[in-house]
């Protein structure tokens, strides 16, 4: 199977879906001439022309709204945010327009559109450029929120997101773009809302998504050296959330750690813990623990940033704690 980067996987998904359906267009800052701020849209301008690959001014609220309008009357926009930090300027269109349109119009106007871009922290980008928004977005009924962690999932899920007749927020990762993985030549689409068991074990379940999938897998590898076997469950989508997959794994291992990039309070992990206590109460052998960013804006200094971020050692420590190996 070919091994490609996460970036190339997204590029393939965009290209294939644009070939398949000429209502699909890509719009955002630097997507065309510059070939994408992170080169995700490389070559698309050349293949599809400037009507379908559209550079915008720095006008997030404006072009997100252009996407909503175009979707109302039958196009299928893919709106790229250079990063999700800048989507805050557009959040009115995402939340007040796209998410509610179907409901508010009594089912007349669905929103077949995708909002996508890198989410979360990269390296030393400081407070305004290092934020993971999935828990915010997941809070909103009327949206789907997809957070792929591997090239395979990124491609299959982006294709599904573009074909979905609902608004989908698709959260990538700057630090993921260069990561590599197997992606088949044959076409495939991954259904939105299905988790994926990335590693099988029977001692503890690591529940995670997005960039933290790689962290959880590395932690699981290291723990395996001590004979600790982890289920690594990649949610892939945080809204809707695959509660059945969570319950199935936790009922098997009886212990769970949730790993996410964002902050603790009202985070995705808080929701997972709620499901677990409701559906697996009698199966739990230890309180569920969470690994997440420190409860502070992201600092610039290298040592502080490292201390703030969830990582492999913090994940291992949490796993050992739920196994009562350490206290």
């Amino acid at each position: 199977m070919p091994v490609i980067t996460y970036r190339e996987a997204l590029n393939q998904a965009l290209r294939e879906e644009m070939q398949r359906d000429d209502r699909v267009f890509l719009m955002g800052e630097e997507v065309a001439v510059y070939q994408g701020a992170y080169k995700v849209s490389k070559g698309l301008l050349q293949e599809f022309g400037e009507q379908r690959v559209v550079d915008t001014p720095i006008t997030e609220l404006g072009f997100a709204g252009v996407g909503v309008g175009a979707a109302m009357v039958g196009l299928r926009p893919v709106i790229e945010f250079m990063t999700w930090n800048f989507a805050l300027l557009a959040i009115d269109q995402v939340v007040n327009a796209a998410a509610k349109m179907l409901y508010m119009t009594g089912g007349q106007f669905n929103m077949p559109m995708v909002f996508r871009g890198p989410n979360g922290a990269a390296l030393q980008l400081a407070a305004q450029h290092s934020q993971a928004w999935e828990s915010w977005l997941a809070h909103i009924p009327g949206l789907k929120v997809v957070v792929p962690g591997t090239p395979y999932d990124a491609k299959g899920l982006l294709k599904a997101a573009i074909r979905d007749d609902n608004p989908v927020c698709f959260l990538e990762g700057e630090m993921l773009y260069n990561t590599k993985g197997e992606v088949p030549d044959e076409e495939y689409v991954i259904p939105i809302g299905k988790a994926d068991l990335k590693r099988e074990g029977d001692h503890v379940t690591l529940i995670t998504h997005g960039k933290m999938v790689l962290v959880a897998l590395q932690a699981a590898d290291q723990l395996a050296k001590d004979g600790i076997r982890c289920d690594v469950l990649d949610l892939r989508t945080v809204r809707p959330m695959d509660v059945d997959a969570i319950a199935e794994s936790v009922r098997k291992t009886n212990r769970a750690v949730v790993v996410e990039e964002g902050w603790e309070l009202c985070g995705v992990g808080a929701q997972v813990v709620d499901y677990v206590q409701r559906t697996c109460f009698d199966h739990l052998d230890a309180p569920v623990l969470r690994v997440h960013q420190a409860d502070v804006p992201m600092p610039y200094a290298k040592n502080l940033e490292k201390a703030a971020k969830p990582d492999v050692p913090k994940t291992i420590a949490a796993v050992r704690q739920v196994l009562y190996l350490d206290r």
């Binding site: 510059y34 001014p57 006008t59 404006g62 300027l89 305004q128 502070v296 040592n303 502080l304």
Partner: protein, 359 residues
């Protein structure tokens, strides 16, 4: 706006000068004595050269990993920061974007504190919390260092509001790139500033590009200063490679803000000699090498230097002395930053909230 506390400008006629696309030939102030002129021009040169040399070394430090994250150099635009800021009083305010090293230095931020911040060290101007994009210094009235395009423009209007509210005669200068004017925040802020006559000077540094997008590919009109008309705001286009032109325009605008509480929009045409940030090539996808080279011929520092030489205000020896002095200061800032400790881990949880109230 109605404010009960305003003690100045009452009844001041809102004399909005005509729109001007060219910089008027000379200011109306009496000509300074040759000695004063020489001193002033040397100050301007010193300010610009400090920015240049500091950032040349910044690029080096970035390349060897001492500096991380996003880092946007100002090289080529130094006449803008120096020209504007040299007209300010110490109690005035400045707010700017992530491309903030030049303005911070022009305002008098210590090179040591700036370099230590870029290194992410405890002696940095914000204790290593912000890095390149988030320089702040309360004592200098330097209100940042903001990373979200357009986000700081309404904040400038807020500072203007507070100045007027308190009845002061300070001014806030808001620097921004030309691409920021397409953002909603720009229009909202300028409308309020125009409506409420806030003492704001909005300085658009038109360096032709917002990242890889040329101004004519992003803005419905290319003469950006004309946008001031929408807010009934005095406006001018200025040659940003000529520090005197910038200074003159700034002087007019600042006087208007101080005495009449009238905001101004200046479009200053300049060019960035480096890539958008350290991860962007200097030329290639969006601008040609030829274009870059043609702009390099109007290096603001070289222009000032030759003007001073013509005036007999600068010898080659003067230049070398100044340059050596500045290089030593910059080297000193690197040594200082190298020796400054990383912030202690406890600092991670400091400064999220204060625990005081106005009780």
């Amino acid at each position: 706006m109605t404010t009960t506390k305003s003690t100045r400008r009452r009844g001041a006629a809102a004399t909005a000068p005509a729109e001007s696309a060219a910089t008027p030939a000379a200011s109306t102030a009496p000509a300074p004595s040759p000695a004063d002129r020489r001193a002033l021009h040397r100050e301007l040169l010193y300010s610009m050269l400090l920015q240049r040399r500091f950032e040349e070394r910044t690029a080096e430090m970035y390349a060897i990993g001492r500096i991380g994250g996003f880092c946007h150099l100002y090289i080529g635009q130094e006449a803008v920061s120096t020209g504007i800021i040299s007209q300010l009083r110490p109690d005035d305010y400045i707010i700017t974007t992530y491309r903030d090293h030049g303005q911070a230095l022009a305002r008098g931020m210590a090179p040591n504190a700036l370099m230590a911040e870029l290194f992410g060290r405890i002696d940095g101007c914000v204790r290593g919390k912000g890095g390149s994009m988030h320089l702040f210094d309360k004592a200098l009235g330097f209100l940042g260092g903001h990373g979200i395009v357009g986000g700081h423009i309404p904040i400038a209007a807020g500072v203007g509001f507070a100045i007027k509210y308190r009845g002061g005669d300070q001014v806030i200068v808001c620097f921004m790139g030309e691409a920021a004017v397409n953002n909603g925040a720009f229009h909202e802020a300028l409308n309020m500033a125009g409506l409420w006559k806030l003492p704001c000077l909005f300085v658009i540094e038109n360096n032709r590009y917002g990242m890889g997008t040329a101004v004519e590919r992003a803005s419905a009109i290319n003469d950006i200063y004309k946008r001031g008309a929408s807010y009934d705001m005095p406006r001018e286009m200025v040659d940003g490679q000529d520090v005197f032109a910038v200074r003159d325009a700034a002087g007019r605008a600042i006087a208007r803000a101080r005495t009449e509480s009238m905001p101004t929009l200046l479009e200053i045409r300049t060019y960035r000699f480096m890539g958008h940030s350290m991860s962007d090539a200097v030329s290639g996808t969006y601008r040609t090498k030829e274009e870059l080279e043609s702009y390099l011929k109007r290096d603001p520092i070289a222009l000032l230097k030759s003007r001073m030489e013509e005036d007999g205000d600068l010898t080659e020896a003067d230049w070398t002395t100044m340059d050596d002095e500045i290089k030593a200061i910059v080297q000193g800032s690197i040594d200082f930053a190298e020796n400054s400790p990383e912030p202690p881990i406890e600092a991670l949880f400091e400064d999220v909230l204060v625990d005081t109230t106005s009780d």
